[in-house]
Amino acid sequence: MKPKKDMIIEFLSLKEFGQRAIREIKIALKTGVPNIQPKNVIQFDSVTSFRGFMTLQKIEILLMISNVKPKSIYELAKLLDRSLGAVQKDCDALARIRFIKLQKQKTGRGSITPKLAFDYDKIVVKLPKHPYELRFKAAA
């Protein structure tokens, strides 16, 4: 069986994003080799921003979609014992950032089925490395 791809969260500042774009576009234009963000990579500007977005309720939604696979947002709200409006709002936000996709059913009432953006079972948060140094002599 093909191993599942992980959803990867990366962090880089807006400044770094711009600088990286300039570097990589130069290479892409020179070589003609496209450099397109894979669908399993989401970039945030900071851990704070990601944590502000990814609330516990949204994690529960992802867990429920992954494990129970509800057929509609209404069903998802029932499973989570939350209001439909609040779940709808969280699902919209998750879809905007591309954690999930919202598929309108062609049959029946045309309800919207929340699905993972692709078949992943793990979110890997690549925390930025902050070099940290404590000099005992200076501290003393």
Partner: protein, 105 residues
């Protein structure tokens, strides 16, 4: 999109708790009057919560590098950018993104 156009670079970044998103896209296209450099640059800042573009930089003639600053209401309003390269246009876009986002919150 132009049939002969090829996306050569496309990446996006989310920030401010996922309320804003900036993406940069470069399309390689045949050299012609509208795109004498042979590529089309598109830098967009989107308020994803409201699903509206806020800032847009592109490079088509007769304007050259320019920025749309009154989106989404006035799509024809453009500010010509005093830059000569996509590198400078991207740098300027990213600094404007920081300004706009910090003013809005």
């Amino acid at each position: 999109m132009d049939k002969a156009a090829q996306i050569i670079w496309h990446k996006r970044i989310d920030f401010k708790n996922g309320v804003f998103e900036a993406y940069i896209q470069v399309l390689k296209i045949p050299i012609r009057d509208k795109f004498p450099d042979g590529f089309k640059l598109k830098c967009v800042l989107v308020n994803t919560e409201l699903n509206i573009p806020v800032l847009l930089v592109d490079n088509h003639e007769p304007f050259g590098y320019h920025m749309h600053t009154r989106l989404p209401y006035d799509k024809k309003y453009r500010v010509k950018l005093n830059v000569n390269s996509y590198q400078d246009a991207i740098s300027l876009f990213m600094s404007e993104v920081e300004k706009v986002v910090n003013n809005e919150t």
